[in-house]
Symmetry: C4
Subunit: 232 residues, 4 copies
């Protein structure tokens, strides 16, 4: 339907960035793009290789995870996207990948420590790793519960989804989000890069100190503060 064309296009273009940026192989990731007024989002169909995607294959789903338009079955992670869109009213796109280094940190069940300004340019805190879910949550509506696990983890850390746009789900893999689907993809690539650098940093110096507060503040604010002077 014509009214969904813009989010289908946005979701398609963002999905195609995942293999281009080296974040996925085969079908190992998905991106969605939301339309807040229509209350729906466009998401990658399940198990379809990127090379076979086109905007019209994107599936239109509402915030309860019900398919509204599209011939294909949506991503198996659709309910996680739906829950986050429902509760986080200012995000425009969500990305899930199994990118190598971020997934290795998730499997390690460790937060990614803030070791440098590459990290601080995007986040003022360690990137959280959510604990593996309880057996009851897993046995229940798994993807739906994954969304709550993400929200609960931010809440426990005293963080909002606007302060940090990326998280690791323990034993699983990363999720990122942003004001647009394109920004959420950008965040996935940043996370992968920061994850690789943090791994190498600990390998080079097992006692590497976390970044000092003054530098965290400076780097984040020059990009995101009220007096930011990065970008055009």
């Amino acid at each position: 339907m014509q009214q969904y064309q813009h989010i289908r296009q946005a979701a398609y273009e963002a999905n195609m960035q995942l293999p281009a940026l080296g974040l996925v192989i085969f079908t190992f990731g998905n991106v969605s793009a939301v339309d807040r007024q229509l209350g729906v989002f466009a998401i990658k169909p399940s198990g379809v290789p990127y090379a076979e995607l086109s905007p019209d294959k994107m599936v239109i789903v509402d915030f309860d995870g019900k398919t509204v338009d599209g011939r294909l079955r949506p991503s198996s992670d659709t309910l996680t996207h739906a829950v986050l869109y429902k509760h986080w009213e200012h995000i425009g796109g969500i990305v899930h990948t199994h990118s190598t280094y971020a997934t290795a940190w998730a499997q390690s069940q460790r937060d990614i420590p803030i070791y440098g300004t590459t990290h601080a340019d995007h986040n003022t805190v360690d990137i959280p790793c959510a604990s593996p879910m309880s057996d009851a949550m897993i046995a229940g509506d798994y993807e739906y519960q994954t969304g709550f696990q993400i929200m609960d983890t931010l809440r426990e850390r005293g963080l909002t989804y606007e302060e940090i746009e990326m998280i690791l789900v323990g034993n699983h893999a990363p999720f990122t989000w942003g004001k647009t689907a394109a920004k959420a993809v950008y965040n996935s690539a940043v996370l992968e890069s920061v994850a690789q650098m943090a791994y190498l940093t600990e390998s080079i110096n097992s006692n590497a100190p976390r970044l000092k507060d003054a530098l965290i503040k400076k780097h984040f604010e020059r990009k995101h503060g009220p007096n930011s002077y990065y970008g055009q």
Copy 2:
């Protein structure tokens, strides 16, 4: 001969995926595709670079390893393929590579522990590493015995070839299989990715716990169980 054209084509296309997916250099790998009705398989010729392959260069071999059609000598690993096709009647393709991370685990003589959902999406158990063969097996019909070493290892672990479609041969390198040659190649790339992530996971957290049972079950079943909801 015309009757072998479909498996020659399938084997050719699958072999060409190995360098495209970064799983081989030079001539370091081979794929075969079987025709169960004719009782033969098509396999890469030995020592021929991928860039020089074409469907008609694939060699047709029976399940005793005897060349049935083709001008070139088949892969030196042909007898391993033959043994597995003979005993595992539901597989359609086999792949052997020396891909970097999977081979490093094989050289380490360790099973790859199940650390996350990327692994569980494809296997419910650690990926087995067969012990190096006895000197008698090596001195005998080496490639033939490699097939039995693979089958024996699965039997010892209480696994069937339908439950797990990949194995490491200790000190050597991985073998994978599947219902088609294309699926066997897919499994080789998945194994390489899982092998890299497991290596990084242990580097980041030397006490990383194995994935909990509830998550193993959930992820495998959403892709492969009776109520699977992954894919189209």
Copy 3:
């Protein structure tokens, strides 16, 4: 303006080398090229992706960091470039990246030890890592102070900017320079390669010795000494 065309072109071409050499993703780096007679340099605009750059988008800035020509805002690191051009009168270009391995060493707050001739072909000493700046320097004019931090570190080590053309800024990332912008980019790629090799060397042998003095001298002098015999 026509008079800046040559440095705009040089800065443009050098900036485009950063993604081509795998040293940056997105907008994670910047190059500048100076005209000593005009007392200005051309630098990448802030936050503009490399694919959208063109020579006319380069910003012309004087040695106090004031924009002299150009419609866009210059790189947020411009003041660091300005300070270095002002004090180091024989350099023609400066590069800043967050390349993976060099940044990992910077985050580790360690000098890169001279472990081999790849290092000695370009430098006779360990590659220095500047200490993180004091909170006062950070709170002040941060990028301006970064330039002084770099100069102070060389001074403390008894090095001149002509003896070594690369440095790590602790917790941050590398800066390199050279007689031209192209040479500064070359130095960035050399640094990344040397940083990766040094990391691997320590992983393979945690007691790897530094290169002996005779080899340091020999390799540096065959490339850079009065009787050099490398190149045309």
Copy 4:
């Protein structure tokens, strides 16, 4: 001159394979190809980027290192090539690179242990690492002495240049050779792959055992023994 055209072409093509195989950046490597009847070899000119090479730019040098034909200065490593051609009468090509993993092992001053069949397919022994040269050798005719250091190391290990076609020069980088320049390049890529796998193997299992003798013998002989059955 027309008579050198075939080795110029062979050396050119082999040099161009180095960047294609990811073994060099910039000008970090050189290949030569010999004509035994004419008693000369063609080698890369010094410091010229690969993209600017052409067959006619290859320099023709005799076994004492004297330039016989060509307008450019030959590689700074030319005397090492000359010495090896003079003493090893059955080799047709030589390669020197600073490829990442092989160079890291050279910097670590460790032989590469034989951990698997990828290694055994090409060599029956650990890949030797020559000790760093004495100060006297370095101060003397350095590149000439590098050739003797390589030959002495093989002699000390009881190896001939026909049994093993690759070596690490301690603190420096690898040299490989073979019956042709193309085979020597092949050996450089094999060495880099084996070096990476050995590094990963030790990271995954710090007690990984060396390959058992029966497998070393089997894998080498199926490719290189009197009853070899690999290749066409």
